[in-house]
């Protein structure tokens, strides 16, 4: 399949819709082990991104992702702002100025995004952060799409299930990074908000494929 700028615009609309619908839920998750702003921040960021996209009408996938990245960087704040902002910026850089992207290029861009997140936040899998969703999902996509020559649409059911499972797997973890780590053992038993918004991120990538 080919991914055009329209795909990424659709993705951002769907991601924004999920963030808006889950604003309170994400905020509640963050209130339990953080400072209760993750949903508010992500929702504000997504709305800013949509606004900037409609104001500036970028012409390539890379330009769309750059616009989103800059919008998130300058409007989300907190830990999630630079992390998601960097993720989109890295994807933008990875895509160069192509009009159309193929599945392998898309996965490589996501891999760069993951590296950006890990470079900035220094988190490893198991530390109860968004990395706990991103890393296994990107590994899965590399396996299936780059090595296995499948397309994203072929693996979407599995991908969303995997993201959800990894998101839930953060519940028994003790946080080692971010605000939740201050709680020590009291962070155990709660789902990580950033892992949850990351699940929504990957779900949106898939939903943007169809009319869905």
């Amino acid at each position: 399949m080919k991914y055009t700028k329209e795909y990424f615009l659709r993705f951002m609309e769907i991601f924004a819709k999920h963030l808006a619908e889950n604003k309170d839920y994400l905020t509640q998750l963050d209130a339990a082990i953080g400072d209760g702003d993750h949903g508010i921040n992500m929702d504000r960021g997504a709305k800013t991104a949509l606004q900037r996209l409609s104001d500036t009408n970028p012409s390539t996938p890379s330009a769309v992702l750059r616009t989103i990245g800059m919008a998130l960087l300058s409007s989300v704040g907190g830990a999630a702002g630079p992390l998601y902002g960097t993720a989109f910026m890295k994807m933008s850089i990875a895509l160069g100025n192509k009009e159309e992207i193929d599945d392998k290029e898309l996965v490589k861009a996501l891999e760069q995004a993951l590296l950006g997140i890990k470079g900035l936040g220094k988190a490893q899998v198991g530390e109860k952060t968004m990395v706990d969703v991103w890393e296994p999902v990107v590994t899965f996509l590399k396996e299936e799409i780059i090595n296995g020559n499948k397309e994203l649409k072929d693996v979407c059911n599995e991908l969303v299930l995997l993201a959800e499972e990894r998101m839930k797997a953060t519940i028994p973890m003790q946080a080692r990074k971010g605000r939740a780590s201050y709680l020590g053992e009291r962070s155990i038993g709660h789902q990580d908000p950033g892992a949850t918004s990351s699940y929504l991120f990957f779900k949106s990538l898939c939903e943007a494929l169809g009319g869905n």
């Binding site: 905020t27 209130a31 339990a32 082990i33 953080g34 400072d35 209760g36 702003d37 508010i40 921040n41 504000r44 960087l73 300058s74 409007s75 989300v76 704040g77 907190g78 830990a79 999630a80 702002g81 630079p82 992390l83 900035l120 936040g121 946080a175 080692r176 990074k177 971010g178 605000r179 780590s181 201050y182 709680l183 020590g184 009291r186």
Partner: protein, 333 residues
């Protein structure tokens, strides 16, 4: 949630407008991106100090902008780190050719956003240094966490660093002395009630009618443990035990104290806290050189208090005494 606000989404902007109206002789406010800066900036040849962090901790940081303290402060959304474009624009507005020092409270988001701003500025040829304040002894196994949080010690770091910069010290020297503050300051906080972020509309956590939270941060994040409420003296003893276990003080040491209210605690209670803190220090022969009592770094309307102890040497004492003229801290000017 009952608050004296108009729209939860506009609280930061409207607060900044109210600050600008109140203190035109001291500060100016820039919007989009938001930052507060000295009315007399830029000052040629002076190192500039910039701090920032989530809003809701007022007077920190905006209330400390002025002569002898910060050159600019970047307020994020409530309890949310500011974004790199704020620090970037603030730095370009106030810098005077002698370099920029960021004072950053140790929170993942703050550190990442300030780092990104520093990278941007450095890529344009500016000299930028950062000191991270991580004074909260409530965070125990800091090797396995994001590290200690930056809390009350930040006020002393900004005051003392600001004095050094005002004296015309070079960037390396200003950084050195702020790092010295960071190394010699310890804090711990407790909360009797949570607080409510306007945009969230409900309390950040729940606390029973007979409970208090020991080791609270400043973002409404829960603390080290939840305990049954006790007399103030016992709570203060626990707080001082935690500080002194981490930074033992000896007879003859001199300290500056910050007995800080979290926003909703009456001054009466803070003085009752100071009474016990003073008794404990007196009993081990530690000299109380200077004591600040009041709301200096808050968590909205949270009821609670924090205690900050800064171990002093002659250099820190002198810089602490230097004139300061800001909306929230002023002496000798």
């Amino acid at each position: 949630m009952k608050k004296l606000i108009n729209n939860p989404e506009h609280v930061v902007k409207e607060m900044l407008e109210g600050m600008a109206a109140a203190h035109p002789e001291l500060i100016k406010v820039h919007f989009d991106p938001n930052f507060i800066y000295r009315a007399d900036a830029p000052i040629k040849g002076k190192v500039v100090l910039i701090s920032g962090g989530g809003s809701g901790h007022e007077p920190l940081h905006g209330g400390y902008v002025g002569k002898g303290m910060l050159d600019a402060a970047c307020p994020g959304q409530v309890f949310t780190s500011p974004t790199p474009d704020q620090m970037y624009e603030a730095a370009k507005t106030v810098e005077g050719g002698a370099g920029i020092l960021f004072i950053v409270k140790n929170y993942t988001g703050d550190v990442m956003n300030f780092d990104m701003a520093a990278d941007l500025l450095r890529s344009e040829g500016y000299k930028v240094e950062s000191v991270v304040i991580a004074d909260d002894v409530a965070v125990e196994e800091s090797l396995y966490s994001a590290g200690r949080r930056g809390v009350g010690g930040t006020v002393f770091a900004e005051k003392i660093g600001g004095a050094a910069a005002e004296r015309g010290w070079a960037l390396e020297e200003v950084k050195r002395v702020v790092q010295k503050v960071a190394d010699n300051v310890r804090s711990i906080g407790i909360a009797l009630t949570p607080c409510t972020v306007p945009a969230a509309g409900k309390p950040t956590f729940e606390l029973g009618e007979d409970e208090f939270e020991f080791g609270i941060g400043i973002h409404g994040e829960p603390g080290r443990k939840r305990l049954k409420i006790k007399p103030a003296d016992e709570i203060v003893q626990m707080m001082m035990d935690a500080i002194l276990a981490d930074m033992p003080l000896e007879k003859g040491d001199e300290v500056a104290l910050l007995i800080n209210g979290m926003g909703g605690t009456p001054l009466m209670e803070l003085y009752i806290v100071n009474r016990k803190v003073s008794q404990i220090l007196d009993s081990i022969g530690v000299k109380r050189y200077k004591t600040l009592v009041g709301n200096y770094i808050t968590s909205l309307e949270m009821q609670g208090a924090s205690v900050t102890v800064l171990r002093l040497d002659d250099e820190l004492k002198e810089l602490l005494e230097d004139p300061v003229l800001t909306p929230a801290l002023r002496w000798k000017s």
